[in-house]
């Protein structure tokens, strides 16, 4: 930068003398320098974390022996008896479905209160937004720890924990969906004298419905993946069986169950992905899926049916005759009705299996305040230094994991972008590869790595690294494909090669988005690194589990706040960097 102290010479003046060296690089801005520096710091942090966690070739080679050993101990895979396995699977699914349903039930009103266009007032809106942010900030494992106090060991704890945490994402996306609707139809209902709730039911909900359903399905996927971790804190189901198997060093069964979880996740992803895509496409001829249809009695018949003015009732069949007022039972309607009925049946069955009862819910509501009281005021419990140290390790795990992810995901993502590689087949191949990796739940990965490399941060970093490839690879490929093809064609026309086109016309344009995705991945990884600690992958998550075991709930609060502070810092950084490079 010191070179830049000379005043710039105007171009319009005569050409600068040769020795004056005309500027060919733009003068750097302080913000740009700052952001670059911050990014370099992140990368440096990642590299340094690598060294610190002793994530090097030697460790990997060391682990290779372990891995062989591990393979020997894990093969042949063993499964619990079929009946038990099915029961465990159904239990896990029931918890996940009921939890997602709970989050939807809570998120619809909360989202309506939090959306700019449907909220009754500014303060209500802020309060609802704050609740949503809070739900997102508290990991489901912490909700589970609290819910145990009320519901004890059992499915209900899992439902409440996952359901409440899910509100953080579902509630926010619902509020967004409500805000995105076209206000016109609502104005029309308002002009016709409809009340506030009537406007919302008549014009807001129908418009938002596809994205409400898509969000719920998306959350269902995520909940299925994280349900494993709840097993480690004591919620019944596949995760619980898995954690027990690991505890008794029965790797054959542990990996058998892990495989089942994996297949379950793949299946769920495939099904929900298909439905979500068709919802978002939503062909015009497919009318809405009436999820909440309800036939209401005729009590209003007298008020609305009778006494209308004659001129308008001049239909070909005349007034008075009963005529068709419901859509014909065509294939589409039959399909929708069947899907709706099956969905409702599944949700109800899940609720029953998970032991949800009005009784239990009332008990939960009753003990809400005392339970919150247990967690306040926050206290470090005299182990503040250790917590800071472990928080640092968690951050290192996240940095190292993200670095592994970036190194693998950037080339993979580029190879999966149709506008980068020469043949669509290559792009398809790498797309599928990324999708496959994306299907692997990080927690299962972490458990595998814990077994291979032993308890500790190395397992966490590797698990996150591979997990990041799935997330980041897809995001990178998408943002590369979204780039305007014009400049690439222009560069192609100058006779540039494929690599030159990529680096001059594609990558620079996608760069700000890619950068934002990188920081987003870091953000996600810090949250995940905390959870991974619970399954034994090092860092502050382990302290979280311990504090819960010895019922030091005030320490749990401190840990949550510490992680939250780091996450907020990274989010702020991401926002700023994005603004600078945009």
């Amino acid at each position: 930068m010191s070179v830049q102290t000379r005043p710039d010479r105007r171009r319009s003046a005569k050409l600068p003398a040769r020795e004056e060296r005309r500027r060919t690089v733009a003068r750097p801005t302080p913000a740009g320098l700052g952001a670059t520096f911050a990014l370099l710091l992140c990368v440096g942090g990642g590299v340094w974390a690598f060294a610190e966690l002793q994530l090097n070739l030697a460790t990997v080679v060391d682990s290779a022996g372990n891995a062989r050993d591990f393979l020997e101990r894990m093969l042949p895979l063993q499964f619990p008896p079929v009946g038990e396995l099915l029961d465990l699977t159904w239990q896990t699914l029931a918890i996940v479905i009921a939890a997602t349903a709970l989050s939807v039930l809570l998120s619809v009103p909360l989202g309506l209160l939090a959306a700019r266009n449907t909220t009754p007032g500014g303060s209500v809106r802020s309060a609802s937004r704050a609740l949503i942010v809070l739900a997102r900030a508290i990991p489901d494992a912490v909700f589970a720890i609290a819910a145990f106090r009320v519901f004890g060991l059992g499915a209900m704890t899992g439902v409440v924990a996952m359901g409440l945490h899910s509100v953080g994402m579902v509630g926010k996306l619902y509020a967004d969906a409500f805000e995105e609707i076209d206000e016109g139809p609502r104005d029309a209902l308002r002009a016709a004298g409809a009340g506030r709730l009537q406007q919302i039911a008549g014009a807001v909900l129908p418009q938002a419905l596809p994205s409400l359903v898509a969000t719920a399905l998306h959350r269902l996927d995520i909940n299925l993946r994280v349900s494993v971790v709840l097993g480690f804190v004591g919620v019944n189901g596949l995760g619980y069986a898995l954690s027990n198997a690991i505890a008794r060093l029965d790797y054959q069964e542990a990996m058998g169950i892990a495989l089942v979880v994996l297949l379950l996740c793949f299946a769920a992803e495939a099904v929900s992905g298909k439905i979500r895509r068709s919802l978002l496409r939503e062909v015009a001829e497919a009318p809405r899926a009436g999820v909440l249809r309800r036939v209401v009695g005729r009590r209003l018949a007298a008020r609305t049916g009778a006494g209308r003015h004659e001129p308008v009732a001049a239909g070909p069949q005349g007034a008075g005759t009963r005529r068709r007022t419901s859509p014909p039972w065509d294939a589409g309607r039959v399909r929708r009705a069947v899907v709706t009925a099956l969905t409702c049946a599944l949700v109800v069955a899940s609720g029953v299996r998970a032991g949800i009862s009005p009784d239990a819910l009332a008990r939960g509501a009753e003990s809400l305040l005392p339970t919150i009281g247990d967690f306040l005021p926050p206290s470090t419990g005299g182990i503040g230094d250790m917590l800071l140290e472990n928080l640092w390790i968690t951050v290192q795990i996240a940095l190292a994991g993200t670095l592994i992810g970036v190194v693998l995901a950037l080339p993979l993502g580029a190879l999966a972008a149709r506008n980068v590689v020469p043949s669509p087949a290559v792009a398809r191949f790498f797309r599928s590869l990324i999708l496959l990796v994306r299907g692997l739940p990080e927690l299962v990965l972490a458990i595998v790595f814990v077994v291979v490399t032993g308890l500790g941060p190395v397992a966490g970093a590797f698990a996150l690294g591979i997990g990041s490839v799935g997330l980041l690879g897809k995001l990178v490929a998408d943002s590369l494909e979204e780039v305007d093809p014009g400049p690439a064609r222009a560069v192609l026309a100058t006779g540039a090669g494929r690599g030159q086109i990529f680096f001059t016309a594609v990558l620079p344009r996608a760069w700000p988005t890619v950068l934002a995705h990188l920081l987003y991945t870091l953000d996600v990884n810090i949250r995940s690194a905390t959870l991974l600690g619970i399954v034994g992958a090092g860092g502050i998550g382990y302290d979280l589990l311990n504090a819960a075991r010895v019922q030091q709930f005030d320490v749990v609060t401190v840990i949550v706040l510490m992680v939250l502070a780091v996450v907020l810092f990274v989010e702020g950084l991401a926002l700023w960097v994005r603004k600078v490079f945009a």
Binding site: A191, A192, G195, P206, E285, R293, L300, G315
Partner: protein
């Protein structure tokens, strides 16, 4: 409405005969130096059953005026009486009750794309139903049958079970008219109902509006920006310029050119109403 209603100077105070009375209505947006006067001391009356076209350049206050007539906006000063409801003093519930008796047709139709045509029409009855409704079958059967009748009226009964977004613009506007008819309105307000339609559909929609208005003896106030359409549609034309009523004439025996003067700067003082035809229509 008969031509007699347009005879200047005829006194009518009966609420039954005067559907809309606007008195010195002023609406300002913002405050201080940045304030924008959208409506400036607007006064006029519309007799029951009269069909009035509201003309004026964009920004002259047409939409704002319409929103005052059904109480969607509150006047800054002045006010009026619509179907016996005092606009300046009515409470929210009274305004809502008023809106139930006033149909409103929008330029952009404002149907819920994803719902069937029939359900869209049913939503017009919400004002007289209690509680929120979600899904066609939450409307009582008589409401659904009434909605089918309205669809017959606008010639779209065969489309009842299609999604609204599968219809053409003109058809969607006819569905919107059917929806408004569900309210069994006494007054029909329309805000540039054909501005985004092709000439043929626009002719259909305007004919439909005129037919339902004359058959149901509805009072109509319809903002338009095509003078020809206004002349063939309305009994009377009210012209707005910069928030003021500068023209108020019967369409009987008035020429296009005369109305077109509304859109030009007239004379030295463009705000001088005397420069434009002003028969003092309705009850002066």
């Amino acid at each position: 409405m008969t031509a007699a209603a347009l005879v200047p100077g005829r006194e009518r105070t009966d609420e039954d005969e005067v559907a809309v009375r606007i008195d010195a209505l002023t609406k300002r947006f913002g405050s201080g130096a940045a304030a924008l006067t959208a409506l400036d001391e607007v006064s006029f009356r519309i007799g029951a059953g009269e069909i009035v076209a509201l003309l004026g350049l964009s920004g002259s206050g047409k939409s704002t005026l319409l929103k005052h007539v059904n109480g969607l906006q509150a006047p800054t000063s002045g006010g009026g009486t619509v179907l016996g409801t005092d606009l300046a003093t009515a409470k929210a519930a009274e305004l809502r009750a008023l809106r139930r008796r006033i149909g409103f047709v929008f330029q952009q139709f404002h149907l819920v794309d994803r719902l069937t045509v029939l359900e869209n029409v049913c939503t017009g009855a919400l004002g007289s139903l209690r509680g929120p409704r979600l899904g066609l079958f939450t409307y009582p059967r008589p409401v659904r049958e009434a909605a089918m009748d309205r669809l017959d009226r606008v010639g779209l009964a065969d489309w009842a079970f299609q999604r609204a977004d599968t219809l053409s613009g003109g058809q969607q506007q006819r569905v919107a008219v059917a929806r408004a008819l569900m309210q069994e309105p006494r007054i029909l307000l329309a805000d540039e109902p054909v501005a985004s339609l092709d000439p043929e559909s626009s002719g259909q929609v305007m004919r439909l509006l005129r037919d339902v208005a004359t058959q149901g003896r509805l009072t109509v106030l319809c903002s338009l920006h095509q003078v020809d359409v206004a002349l063939s549609f309305a009994d009377r034309i009210v012209g707005l310029r910069r928030g003021r009523v500068v023209m108020d004439v019967s369409t009987a025996g008035i020429g296009r050119e005369e109305v077109m003067r509304l859109y030009r700067e007239v004379g030295a003082d463009p705000e001088d109403p005397g420069a434009l035809p002003h028969h003092g229509g309705g009850a002066g």
